[in-house]
Every structure is written in structure tokens, then in C-alpha cells.
Subunit: 180 residues, 2 copies
Amino acid sequence: MRRNQYEEIRDRVLAYFTQAHIIITEVEKAAVEVADFGLEDFEQVGLSLITYVNTERCCAKELVLFPGQTCPEHLHPSIGGYPGKEETFRVRYGKVYLYVDGEPTEEIRGHVPENGSQYYTAGKEIILYPGQQFTLTPNTRHWFQAGEEGAVVSEFSTTSYDEADIFTDVRIKRIPSIEG
Amino acid sequence: MRRNQYEEIRDRVLAYFTQAHIIITEVEKAAVEVADFGLEDFEQVGLSLITYVNTERCCAKELVLFPGQTCPEHLHPSIGGYPGKEETFRVRYGKVYLYVDGEPTEEIRGHVPENGSQYYTAGKEIILYPGQQFTLTPNTRHWFQAGEEGAVVSEFSTTSYDEADIFTDVRIKRIPSIEG
């Protein structure tokens, strides 16, 4: 991702935090993470976030999804003695369609992204509105998508090792790079 | 604490969440925890909270302090193989005076509560405004107090075992009981 593209996205992310009445510091504003997962199709498949804290024991983040944007399917594996990341998503603004391993929902309300559609396998739908939350155990495949207003989601979890996440889409690179 | 007192306090707590633009469910509203620590002096020493999630690995809560109210000094001990609770306080609304073990601040901006004043020993002051946060390691004595507008504070932590907390004030009972 080029720097000017990053900065344009970051400004839109900050507007979501304002709309959700979430106050963040100037240091955090400068450190907004914008992940296009290497697919270069950010409006469709992407995720923006701030990490409040990520110690050797626990982690908290604030996630932003643009309207209809999807965080692609992945799971958090066990690593050595670490049993894998457990995470709770709590919606603060907007609506989230969450899909997890399990009995597939017959007619889902979200939509599978065209880009990499064959890599979406988890089909049990959970719809979350502001104030609602869902806890995911490790090693559970999941993906999620914002409704038409976008979404802001708090994540409470054990330690994040984002670089260890396993994405169903083999093309994906989790850790973003900014050029220029 | 009597039920009618609890309900009056809970309504005030819910107004703080509204003011801080924090959306909670009806189930959570009914489960607001109000702790007077057995001191029956809630306006001075007390804490109200909602627990979003508390699994065997991590925990998230939303705390409310009324104006000038103090959460009394305590620490989170190791328990068997559990190294003790690590917690991050992130202020969402208002101002918080946090006091932790360490080099005492010469002139503190908060005030030691009259009720049990001899039980406040941690004197290193950290002042937190909205968007600011502080991470406490286990076994660190700490207490905190809201400024004149009260405060709403997100807590991100490892598992909470509130009943194991060690309070400096030997009179304190952490787990509240509601009568009548």
C-alpha cells in the first residue's frame, strides 16, 4: 500500500472512531494499522485497527470495517505451549455479520466477497448489533463483514500473534507494508 | 446494601454509560455490579461495573466511578499456578487519579478517603484523561479515584478472581450482598 493511500484510509478510520465516540490519543492516531492482506482490494477485503495493549498475557484492540468490508477467513492456531488466541468481539457501532465454523446458516444476510470467494468456508452466521458480543475459541475458522454503515468493534483477547494467523486464502499476507 | 439503594445507584451508573456513549444490553443493565466493599459509605468508597467477559484466560469490564469516589487499595495476588491478574485501565470519560506502588508523588491531586485513610499506602500518582491508559502488573498495590465529573474506565485483563483480591483495609469484603 502506498503512503498516500494509507493516509486517506487512516483519516476515514479516525472518522469512524469519532462517530462511535471512541477517544484515542494522537500517538494511537499515528499508529492506525491498515491491513489489505496483500490483496490490494481494500474496500472489499480489509481491516483497520488500533492495538491498545498486547502483552504476553492479554490484548485489546479497536477494529474498524468500512461499509460491506470483510475481514477474510482465518483462525488462530496453537503455537507450541500457547493454546491459540481466544477473542471476544463486541460491536460498538454499526452491524457485523460474523461467520464461524459450525452448522451453516441456510440463507446468510452478508455476502461472500467475490475476491477469493472460494476461500470462505465457515458459514454459521451470527449477527451482532451495538452492545452485542461473541467469544471465539482458538482454532475456530471465522470471517466477518460490516453492514452498510461500516462497523467499530472492540476486541478483547489473549495475546495476539497476528503473524501466526492462518488464512484460508493462500494468497494472503497478514502483515501490511507501506511503500513510498 | 438494600435493593432500593442498589437500584438507585444502578440507574446513575447507566446514566454514565449513556454519557460516555457506551452501549450495553438489557441483560447487562440488569447485572450491573455495585460494590461498597462492606464499608457502607458508597459515595466515598465504592465501584460499579459491568463484566463483558471473564473466561479462564482473559477478561474485560467497564467500570464507573461517581465524582470523587474511590476504589480502595488492593492487589491481585498469584494463586497457585496463576501469576495474578494483569490489568490495563483505559479512561473513556472523566478523569482518574491512579495510585500505585513506587516512588510517592510529593503533592497528590486526588485525596485519600477519610474512611480508612490509614489503609492507603501506594502513592505514585498517575493521572489519566480520556483515551489514556495504564497497565498494572500483578501483585502491585493500587487504588484509584474519579475526578469531579466521575469516570468511566475500560478494563482489559487476564482472568478476574475478584474474591481473591487482597485489600489493604482489613475491614473490606469485596463481594457485595444485596438484602431485601
